[in-house]
């Protein structure tokens, strides 16, 4: 006989005791601290131009130096952080919600609607994700919102596929048939049974996608297609720093370190979340 966690309280306990989760929490806290210090404690604004201090080394006045326009690197970096996290989260959530609706409804409604969605999903999945995003962003043009939309396109087919296969499976499961026998209609079954069994896999996929989302957004900005100056993004800060690598090599360290930390944190988060759900799954 299997035993599993009896109620929701200990689900969180398991999560909290997971090493990966703790690590990720720690990393996010560090980044959060960085952001707070950079925005509140540093006297300079991220956009402030200090003509006399172009490309200076890190010193007591500018903790991470200044860029080619004389802007303080530290505060710029700090200001980019919340955008990075928010944009990657938004990209995943939009794609996840939209895709899940498409997938679940496809399995539910069936017939031509489902067939169309299957074909569309396969086509979209047939393209490497970066390319899809590049194309969309290229067409729509640069900008924060458009970048989010472009990235969400990556996750729509993935979640649609998940939603469809799970729902298809669930439709023939015993408790759904029993529910029909009790006289409940498709809406009831959807809300009570389908959603409840979809939720765990949904969250796992979301967690895993957070890191790729951040990577894609940063990559797009790095290529000059996502978020472009004058708006700040970790990606375009990085590409900028490469341009001046011979004159001011220290500019490179900040963006790359923050990027790596954020991606690592997201990876650990996804890893720990998927492990937690896995243990509860029925074999």
């Amino acid at each position: 006989m299997r035993t599993s966690e009896p109620n929701k309280v200990s689900r969180f306990d398991v999560l909290l005791s997971n090493r990966s989760f703790q690590l990720s929490l720690g990393l996010y806290s560090f980044v959060g601290l960085f952001w707070i210090v950079g925005t509140l404690l540093v006297p300079h604004g991220p956009e402030d131009i200090h003509d006399q201090f172009v490309l200076t080394r890190p010193n007591s006045q500018f903790l991470l130096g200044t860029d080619h326009l004389g802007r303080d690197q530290f505060s710029r970096l700090a200001s980019a952080i919340p955008y990075a996290i928010a944009m990657s989260g938004a990209g995943v959530l939009i794609g996840a919600l939209f895709g899940s609706v498409l997938g679940i409804s496809a399995a539910y409604i069936g017939r031509t609607y489902e067939k169309t969605i299957v074909i569309l999903t396969n086509v979209l999945l047939g393209l490497p994700s970066i390319m899809l995003a590049i194309l969309v962003v290229g067409v729509l043009g640069p900008g924060r919102t458009k970048t989010i939309l472009a990235v969400s396109l990556i996750y729509i087919p993935e979640f649609a596929r998940l939603g469809r296969s799970l729902t298809g499976h669930l439709k023939s499961s015993g408790f759904v048939i029993a529910s029909r026998l009790m006289g409940h209609g498709p809406v009831w079954i959807l809300r009570l049974h389908i959603i409840s069994n979809f939720r765990p896999s949904f969250f796992v996929l979301v967690a895993i996608s957070l890191s790729t989302s951040l990577l894609s957004i940063t990559a797009l900005s790095f290529l000059g297609l996502g978020v472009v100056p004058p708006e700040t993004d970790l990606g375009n800060m990085l590409s900028l720093s490469l341009e001046y690598v011979s004159l001011a090599p220290w500019l490179f360290l900040g963006p790359s370190a923050i990027i790596v930390i954020l991606v690592v944190a997201a990876n650990f988060l996804g890893d720990s979340l998927s492990k937690t759900v896995d243990a509860r799954q029925t074999v």
Binding site: M1, R2, T3, S4, P6, N7, S173, G174, F175, I177, A178, S179, R180, L181, M182, G183, H184, L192, H193, S196, N197, R199, P200, T282
Partner: protein, 339 residues
């Protein structure tokens, strides 16, 4: 149509169209042919057969989960149109089902309280309310403590899960319960426990049971009447004790003979009465006895060319067999040998 009857099926047929493969032709499968059945209120009707005999399909048709390809269905004297796209026979007539896989019939993400409450039309119940009391009583009836309300199905044994499934079915105050291999997935001790419980509940609530199983012994013990099915047809039906002790159809005899003999000394003498499958489902000709390739007494003449119909056995009331040679079984068996 006597109003005594709870359910009647007349000449029911069910054909499944197999999924179209990319380049293969569509292969139809006949799950049920020529089914005539009467079900009386308060009785336990047993349906016994192997996998593929169509017994589950029959149960589902009675419940409205499947629609017959042709034939007529009557419930309490009134004909039920089988062409409706949404049949809610379950809830409308008070028919319910208990499934073979106990874990599969309970949503693993829900607490038992919610699982049971679904039968009453809600999911959340306030503690102390009359609804909650009903839920607790339903668990008591199946001999489970009300602590189980807070558990998840993954924390219970198969027997306990099956009892919850029963409790849920009973909450809808049903008239008829289809038990489709309801105890097959459980160990022997739990099985007998559950069967005893089922009998008790039947008396208490005046239920009609349709007991589907592959186990002839269990069926004979639980049911008043038994129907034996083979490849979608009824080959024998009658009082359970007669079917068990004096089976007439070669297949029923074969089933009885293949019940494992527990005594190791006697077990050595056990022999199968049936030949191995010589023909596949598709190869058996249209108008032949479906059992022809495995029957120890079949012949080339009649058995291949004419499907035997259910005919009454004169010695017993209400006993029917579909076999050309059932009267001369012993004779023919000794002549032809065990094949």
């Amino acid at each position: 149509m006597s109003k005594d009857l709870l359910v009647e099926l007349i000449d029911i047929e069910k054909v499944f169209l197999a999924r179209k493969n990319f380049m293969n032709k569509v292969k139809p499968q006949k799950a049920l042919s020529n089914i005539d059945l009467q079900i009386y209120p308060g009785e336990t009707l047993g349906i016994v057969g192997e996998t593929g005999s169509g017994k589950s399909t029959l149960g589902k048709i009675i419940l409205g989960l499947e629609r017959p390809t042709s034939g007529r269905l009557f419930i309490q004297g009134k004909e039920v149109l089988t062409s409706r796209t949404r049949s809610k026979i379950g809830s409308e007539y008070g028919f319910q089902m208990v499934f073979q896989d106990p874990a599969g019939s309970l949503n693993p993400q829900l607490r038992i309280e919610q699982v049971l409450a679904e039968a009453l039309g809600t999911v959340e119940s306030s503690p102390g309310s009359s609804r909650m009391v009903r839920l607790q009583q339903s668990l008591e009836e199946v001999e489970l403590s009300k602590e189980f309300l807070n558990r998840y199905s993954g924390q219970m044994s198969g027997g306990q899960q099956q009892r919850v499934a029963n409790a849920r079915a009973l909450l809808t105050k049903p008239r008829l319960l289809v038990l489709d291999e309801a105890v097959s997935a459980l160990d022997a001790v739990t099985q007998s426990h559950l069967l005893r419980l089922l009998k008790k509940l039947q008396k208490k609530h005046n239920l009609t049971y349709i007991f589907i199983s592959h186990d002839l012994e269990a069926v004979a013990e639980m049911s008043d009447r038994t129907v034996v099915m083979y490849q979608g047809r009824i080959v024998e039906q009658g009082e359970s004790s007669t079917i068990y002790h004096r089976p007439k159809h070669p297949y029923t005899r074969g089933l009885k003979a293949s019940i494992p003999i527990r005594d190791p000394r006697l077990a050595k003498t056990q022999r199968s009465l049936m030949r191995r499958d010589l023909l596949t489902n598709e190869e058996v000709p249209q108008h032949a006895c479906p059992f022809v390739d495995r029957c120890p007494i079949s012949d080339e003449a009649k058995c291949i060319t004419a499907t035997p119909q259910l005919t009454c056995v004169p010695e017993y009331s209400n006993h029917k067999v579909a076999c050309h040679y059932y009267r001369d079984f012993d004779e023919r068996f000794n002549q032809i040998g065990k094949g």
